[in-house]
Symmetry: C2
């Protein structure tokens, strides 16, 4: 159950403002800035640390800050009054929080594992983007990328069978881990089965049974619940019902 403790501590800027040498910069919004422009960003930048399951912001609350995830993983979710939940995406280092939101957050953001983020006042970031057109362009491109992911997700949610959903989930996560230069053998899945279920529109039991089935078919190995070794990517893609990925 997500902790509601808002004890996120802002720590000294020095701890994180080495944008020059920042590993995740190439994936992030700030990739649009040259070395000479980085100080402009660092000037308005803060840092945030989140414990596992800590809430960063909640659906419906006023939006004052935007974020870039620098380490860890964040889940974005929508909730229904009766408690049902849809996770719309898992964010990885470099991803931006606040692509679609306007004056209020439209989704809830929670850390999956301990995470760190750069944070910006929305007003100051808007002003900075007016001064650096490349930033605006980069944000637009990231929004387009998010839209492509959401469309793919619509297909997965609406038209794939449970095994196909889980198989494509594994392939997508593996591809994204590779993009981020993370070791993907075995693939580390930090989120819980409940998270995966709420992302794929299934129940945790169905997710668990599907993992077991894929394992018994020899397509994956499960050394531990959060580690998945993809044995046969080709066959897994066939199960996913798609040639892509």
């Amino acid at each position: 159950m997500p902790s509601l403790v808002y004890s996120r501590k802002a720590f000294p800027r020095e701890a994180c403002n080495a944008c020059q040498g920042c590993e995740t910069r190439r994936m992030a919004l700030c990739a649009a800035l040259g070395p000479d422009e980085l100080p402009d960003l660092e000037r308005i930048m803060g840092s945030t640390r989140l414990d596992a399951n800590q809430v960063l912001f909640e659906e419906g609350s006023p939006r004052r800050r935007a974020y870039t995830l620098t380490s860890g993983m964040v889940r974005l979710s929508l909730a229904l009054p009766d408690g049902r939940r849809q996770i719309t995406g898992f964010l990885m280092p470099g991803d931006y929080l606040g692509l679609a939101d306007d004056d209020t957050y439209l989704q809830t953001a929670e850390a999956v594992v301990p995470s760190t983020l750069c944070s910006f006042s929305v007003a100051e970031m808007d002003a900075l983007m007016e001064r650096h057109g490349h930033l605006k362009d980069r944000l637009h491109e990231m929004t387009r990328q998010a839209l492509r992911q959401a469309r793919e997700s619509q297909m997965i949610l609406g038209r794939l069978a449970p095994s196909e959903k889980v198989a494509s989930f594994l392939l997508v996560m593996a591809a994204r881990a590779a993009e981020h230069g993370l070791a993907d053998d075995p693939l580390h899945l930090p989120m819980t089965r409940t998270d995966i279920a709420d992302y794929l529109g299934l129940t945790i039991e169905t997710v668990s049974r599907t993992f077991t089935k894929l394992k018994s078919q020899g397509l994956i190995r499960l050394p531990e619940p959060h580690s998945v070794e993809i044995v046969d990517k080709r066959l897994l893609a066939a199960v996913a019902g798609i040639g892509n990925y």
Copy 2:
């Protein structure tokens, strides 16, 4: 079955270049341009007419032109090798085609009913956007709006029961019709049951049965298959499982 006949005729520019008096301009990309800037747009603008079910472009084909829908309705869809289909959205006048696509179209676009569109060469539109920053901003805002819709769709596909799906679909379509200043009583739904099913992740039989059920519950009336009168919006929202919309 969608016609594959590519007989879309470009007709004289005069027929559609009265951008000044264009009804759908306020909804469209070109709302960002002042009266003095419109000629710049008209100079690179073409027109396209589509018959019902005619394909405008197909998933995977090279992308050379972008479009703004000016009348009618277009469906965007993704397909699986085995023929399964997910409709990601229904476009209404003012909507832009090509928000997320790059050098190839990622989705298939087909007319639901006879439709007209303004068309632009991607290269020329890109150039125009460099000259008019407001255009770029407007396109970004439209991309953000599309992302919000896609997120809502993820929730609907992943976590709502069939009756809830159909109920929210009706409410969303009614709200969008109202935005566009279209009469929404009775609400006209030009798309087929198959389209609705492929949009909501259901079968046509389930969609049809759900309509019948909502009718027998007195929440809607169905004077004809493509006309829906929402009798009790409050109750329908309750069925949708949500307070919003």
